[in-house]
């Protein structure tokens, strides 16, 4: 059976667009006026974005999300890489047990920690702060596990050559391991960033002050309080929704390959 590759591409494109139709339509909707939407006419505007960013504070939420996800990613990936280095390169007393404890976190539902973590952060006064959002999200057992596997695949001869030159373990980590493991670290970093960007239940619990909302919380709340007189102002909600998914959407096209490589490396040995 021979098929026209152009036709196939067209078909695939069509199917993909159809699959994503709700998202695409929601973006289209965000540029319409509420009035036009309810009367079934067409009138385009950027006001929805203006309102979302100004009156409904989404600029602030965007900044919060960037700061929180950025910090979680930077600190999280650093800690995971260091631990992975230790578990991959040393056999030490308690090492297997400790590594087991790290891997076990993959199986533990995070929700069991919700109330105690709330109370811990309440006690030290860190709710409603960036630290309160960041700290409980930092440890990524998955990244540590994954990077340890990856580092084990790096020839030890590289380490040893560096030690011969008088390098300290930290220098070996930074100058030998990190450059070689860069693609894996990058993939894990993306994975952490996206998970944190989309994180919902912890910020929902940990943040009460509006100016500390992340995008996810801001959007859920905007939808819940139902702006608009009588009817939900869908175009406004969709503008906020677009602002919430846009950064990942844009980033997606840049890093799709890394991302896919990251998840598949984790899944298939």
């Amino acid at each position: 059976m021979k098929r026209d590759p152009l036709l196939l591409t067209g078909l695939a494109l069509g199917a993909g667009l159809l699959f994503l139709a709700p998202v695409i339509y929601s973006i289209w909707l965000s540029f319409q006026t509420a009035n036009a939407y309810y009367t079934g006419t067409l009138a385009f505007t950027l006001d929805n974005y203006g309102h979302a960013i100004g009156q409904y504070n989404f600029a602030r939420y965007l900044v919060n999300s960037v700061i929180v996800s950025g910090l979680v990613t930077l600190i999280g990936i650093s800690l995971a890489t260091m631990a992975a280095f230790a578990f991959a390169r040393w056999r030490f007393w308690g090492g297997d047990f400790l590594f087991g404890a790290v891997v076990a976190t993959l199986m533990i539902p995070s929700h069991i920690t919700l109330i105690p973590n709330y109370l811990t952060l309440a006690k030290v006064g860190l709710l409603d702060t960036y630290a309160g959002l960041v700290l409980p999200a930092i440890s990524s057992g998955f990244a540590a596990f994954f990077l340890r596997q990856y580092i084990r695949g790096i020839p030890r001869a590289l380490d040893e050559a560096a030690y011969m030159d008088g390098a300290t373990p930290l220098q070996v980590l930074l100058r030998v391991i990190v450059p070689v493991a860069r693609p894996a670290i990058l993939s894990m970093g993306l994975y952490i960033f996206i998970s944190e960007w989309n994180s919902y239940i912890w910020p929902l619990v940990a943040v009460g002050r509006q100016d500390m909302y992340t995008l996810q919380i801001g959007l859920a709340r905007l939808y819940r309080i139902n702006p608009g007189e009588g009817m939900i102002d869908w175009p406004l909600v969709m503008a906020a929704s677009t602002l919430t998914l846009l950064p990942v959407l844009l980033g997606f096209f840049l890093v799709e390959r890394h991302l896919i490589r990251g998840i598949t490396m984790g899944a298939v040995k």
Partner: protein
């Protein structure tokens, strides 16, 4: 907007007395539940207060509805991030009063000339176990709203004036049959306040206000719920939308998609704006008896706030209940006057003269009844939403649901004692 008022105010303060003056202000963090027209009226009251009290700055946050406030306040306690003053619904502050979270305002109110000005019913809503914990701000009774245009189109030459459950159902059926094709329903599924009212008008209650006895499974309560549920799942004269989210019921009414809506008089301002002279307001139906619950909220002050802040907060609370403020509030929203002198205020007098619907709730006062507020009510009301959904959507028989709910409420009451 309050923040704009505050900005202006602090800007002028800076201009007048140099930059340090603003820093010396006492800040009162205040959580409330008013958006839309109510929110704007509240902002005006706050701006007036701040103009009259230059040393005090009211920092507001619109938290959401009454449930959201209760949840957020409860979560805030172990974190020490409670506000200084907060709007609390009249049946749900007992929980906080009981555990020492709220400041006993009795000494403040006793020393305040406001006390004599408050109507008895309004003062009563703030009393829990003999002490005053909230000062009334917005009080209400449920009323019956209807859309005159829809009634006329459904063929009612004159006002149907339903009095009993049967009357209400008959009118709703007629409307739904005539106009259902256009997506118009006879009645909105009753919201939580209206449900309590309908139970009272069936000569029953959820909790006895004197003895505290739980009446959720009393025969008349069961009958009331059977009738209310039947509107949705049996007769289909009410849309299930309003069951899952009672705001959707209100929205449908303002959008002209529902003929009758039973709800708080506090919605009056918004409804007039949306429906204009199509809106008619009548007293609640009286099935077995004429009786309505007193609802709404008052402002409480947190025991954890500093003394200086508490005093500033009380000044605001007292100001908000003054005749001047209350008149503005009443005229803008439809919530009842709580102050005996409110009606003398020009803005209130004008509202009463020009908007006949606004006085229906006031006229109902002789049959209005306060509701009890032990801690268990907070639990009962939070849990009650799911029970109502199960019954109204026909997921679970009414009698079984209420028997179970009553048993659990009794157990919960025992636990919270």
């Amino acid at each position: 907007m309050a923040s704009m008022g505050r900005n202006l105010l602090s800007a002028s303060a800076i201009a007048l007395c140099a930059a340090s003056a603003a820093a010396a202000d006492v800040q009162v963090e205040f959580w409330h539940s008013f958006g839309g027209g109510g929110g704007k009226a509240l902002d005006t009251i706050i701006a007036d207060f701040e103009a009259a009290n230059p040393g005090i700055d009211i920092v507001t946050e619109h938290v959401g509805n009454y449930n959201d406030i209760v949840a957020k306040l409860q979560a805030a306690i172990p974190a020490n991030r409670a506000p200084d003053a907060v709007i609390l619904e009249v049946t749900r502050y007992g929980l906080f009063a009981d555990s020492g979270v709220l400041l006993d305002l009795t000494p403040y109110l006793d020393a305040d000339p406001l006390k004599a000005d408050l109507f008895d019913f309004a003062r009563e809503v703030g009393v829990y176990e003999g002490k005053n914990y909230i000062v009334p701000f917005n009080n209400s009774t449920p009323v019956m709203y209807y859309n005159r245009e829809i009634m006329e189109r459904a063929g009612f030459a004159e006002e149907p004036a339903p009095k009993t459950y049967d009357d209400l159902l008959a009118v709703s059926k007629t409307v739904t049959e005539k106009l259902g094709g256009e997506g118009i329903y006879g009645i909105a599924a009753p919201g939580q306040f209206a449900r309590w009212g309908l139970i009272m008008s069936n000569d029953s209650d959820l909790i006895d206000s004197v003895s505290g006895e739980i009446l959720i499974d009393a025969p008349n309560t069961i009958d009331a719920y059977k009738w209310m549920s039947s509107l949705v799942h049996e007769h289909k004269v009410a849309s299930p939308d309003g069951v899952t989210d009672e705001d959707l019921g209100k929205d449908a009414f303002t959008a002209g998609k529902v003929a009758i809506n039973l709800g708080s008089t506090g919605s009056y301002g918004g409804y007039v704006k949306a429906l204009g002279d199509k809106l008619e307001v009548r007293p609640m139906p009286c099935n077995k008896v004429c009786r309505v619950p007193i609802g709404g909220a008052g402002i409480g002050i947190l025991a954890s706030a500093e003394k200086e802040v508490q005093e500033a907060a009380y000044k605001f609370v007292s100001f908000a209940a003054s005749a001047e403020s209350n008149a503005k509030w009443f005229a803008a929203t439809g919530y009842m006057p709580i102050n005996r002198k409110t009606a003398e205020q020009p803005v209130a007098a004008e509202a009463l003269a020009t908007q006949p619907g606004i006085r229906v709730a006031i006229d109902q006062l002789p049959v209005a009844k306060g509701r009890p507020r032990p801690p268990v009510v907070t639990w009962m009301r939070s849990t009650g939403y799911d029970m109502w959904q199960a019954m109204a959507l026909g997921q679970r028989p009414v009698e079984e649901t209420l028997t179970d709910f009553a048993a659990r409420t009794r157990e919960e009451a025992k636990r919270s004692q």
